[in-house]
Amino acid sequence: MNSLRRIFAILQKEIRQLSRDRLTFGMIIGIPMIQIMLFGFAINTDVRHLRAAVADESNTELSRTLTADVQATQVIDVITRVQTAPELEILLRDGDIDVGIYIPPDFARRLQQRDRSAAQLLVDGSDPVILGAARQLTNMTLRYDTDAPQQPRAALFDIRNHFNPERRSAVNVVPALMGVILTMTMVLFTAVAIVRERERGNLELLINTPVKTVELMIGKIVPYIFIGLIQVTLIVLLGMLVFRVPIEGALSNVYLGALALIAANLSLGLLISTLAQSQFQAMQMTFFFFLPSILLSGFMFPFAGMPKAAQYIAEVLPLTHFVRIIRGVMLRGADLVHMLPDLRALFIFTAVTLTLAVLRFHKRLD
């Protein structure tokens, strides 16, 4: 009973302090708003309108059809036509075009013989995203190649895109961004909240009172759980209203998944707070953790494309599992029951870091 009162006293104090700390308060609302707008609008891996040039040495009806088809994908805009392949290379080198299309004189014969590719794509490979987009075109040419020349357009655009038919990046980015924002703010807030208490000498006073370690931790953590849920709500609302991100699964599953990530991040924040001597150190440690989270979790780059070692590291990071869970729930309409391995990973992470934090916190007093 007294224990509950003490927890409540710490909780109330924490909320009072938070409401007076304009910077932190601004971060609670500001970080989700700014990040979601920035990432939602700016990250667009769906590349269109690459500048292209065509050197058509074949100049047949078939080759003109090919050019028109490629143009119709909207991936490229043919901005100029040249005579020879070397001219394409010059344009490419000078950065005037992103893609060059070379159609050799024997284009029609090559198409029929199918022993080698009929046409050539010259790509500015210095930007991986452009390279990826070009690869998409290559696929198309291959289909062209293997199809009967009389029906060149058959099955050409038959790419069925599930779950994000319009291929809008925001749909992929926003759910995962929820995890990125929670990882950044939750870890940082808890770590700093406790280190600040130590830095200002409050902890020396508190440990002389009947307050117990566990009570102090609970009292400090609970407000941040609510703050995390507020952020989730904000992101879901913005995602739905601004970016028309669908929520195929149950909304309750979105919140439950988010809670699992919040728990993992808060316990990591606690652990950091027992290691850091100053608020600055706490911030450094947070970013040491945040960077691999953002890069390896599958938020920025596809998980499958990473080397094995990076994948192993990624499996340890809570964000990796959350990205899988939330994309499943929000975009594919999956139930949490189907996400058990990832949920379990989050729980294990929470249990381990929390145990370490409690153990370390005890040592501190001595």
Binding site: A9, I10, R16, G201, N202, L205, N208, P210, D366
Partner: protein, 314 residues
């Protein structure tokens, strides 16, 4: 343990690695006394206080505080003691009343008790006008009154004060000591560490600490009477030259200039200390007036720490 002893330790020791911060300290602090710890920085005052609160485990020795074995019964002890840290450790972004409310909740005072005690403390420590003010915006003296009000809100039997007056002006310090005497009159035992001589003099009893050891203890008057040195005042001298000469004399423990006089501490084993000083100075052609003076607590402190330094050097 008899009921009129608040703290008793036996060979209390704390080591940090190779450093012995507190070395076999034996203490007996009677109830309702103001007991002082006098010593320079790093003499083990804070470490001893922390061990007595149960914050640090002693490496060796025993301590009994308010009849409780420390550190085993430290959790029970925490309800009975108050602790005021060296630096202000309440929440600067909370107001006076919010800070006191928080402390009251932490100690689980009943609602009625909480209202009563907070009203009393606001009155006693002259904080009524400041109730809504954030602690961070208050002056050093005001903060300190708030800290003491918070530390005594739950009416502790024993109060630990770790250099409580290091950040306040002289008037606030005097007021502060008035509060301490009031508390002691009501039966609270107070253990206070300080490096101010005038504060040490006001304690009922004190222990002088030097590098982790108690080098002298007792009531201030007793300590002054039992000083293990002669206190000689030298007048009419060329201060600078005389000081240089006296510092080379083997039995002289310390020479301090006080305005136009030199205050010289001489080893107690010397019979005729004034004679010794006059002889030493006369050979250097200085004719001075030397006479015995009444020892002050500062003399006691210097003599106790100096003698130990010499023993170490030998």
């Amino acid at each position: 343990m008899s009921n009129d002893v608040a703290i008793r330790t036996h060979n209390l020791t704390r080591r940090f690695g190779k450093l012995v911060a507190v070395d076999r300290v034996n203490l007996t602090v009677p109830r309702a006394h103001i007991y002082g710890f006098l010593g320079p920085n790093g003499s083990g005052k804070s470490t001893t206080i922390r061990m007595l609160c149960g914050l640090l485990k002693p490496s060796d020795g025993e301590a009994e505080v308010l009849g409780l074995k420390i550190p085993r019964e430290a959790e029970t002890l925490k309800r009975k003691i108050g602790y005021m840290t060296q630096r202000f450790s309440l929440y600067e972004d909370l107001s006076v009343i919010e800070n006191l409310d928080f402390i009251a909740e932490v100690y689980s005072l009943t609602r009625a008790k909480r209202h009563e005690r907070i009203a009393q403390q606001l009155e006693l420590f002259d904080l009524k006008e400041l109730v809504k003010q954030r602690a961070g915006t208050m002056s050093g003296g005001q903060k300190q009154r708030l800290a003491l009000a918070a530390a005594t809100l739950h009416e502790p039997e024993l109060l630990f004060l770790d250099e409580p007056t290091s950040a306040v002006d002289p008037q606030s310090r005097r007021d502060f000591w008035e509060f301490l005497f009031q508390l002691a009159n009501h039966g609270t035992t107070i253990l206070v560490s300080t490096h101010y001589m005038d504060e040490a003099e006001r304690c009922h009893a004190l222990a002088i600490l030097d590098r982790g050891t108690i080098v002298a203890d007792g009531a201030p008057k007793t300590l002054e009477a039992n000083i293990n040195a002669h206190v000689i005042e030298v007048e009419n001298a060329d201060m600078h030259a005389a000081r240089a000469i006296l510092l080379r004399v083997p039995h002289v423990l310390s020479v301090t200039q006080l305005g136009v006089r030199l205050r010289v501490l001489v080893d107690r084993s010397i019979d005729d200390a004034t004679g010794l000083i006059q002889r030493e100075l006369r050979t250097a052609n200085h004719h001075v007036d030397a006479h015995h003076a009444r020892p002050s607590l500062e003399d006691v402190f210097v003599a106790a720490t100096q003698l130990r330094t010499r023993e170490h050097a030998v």
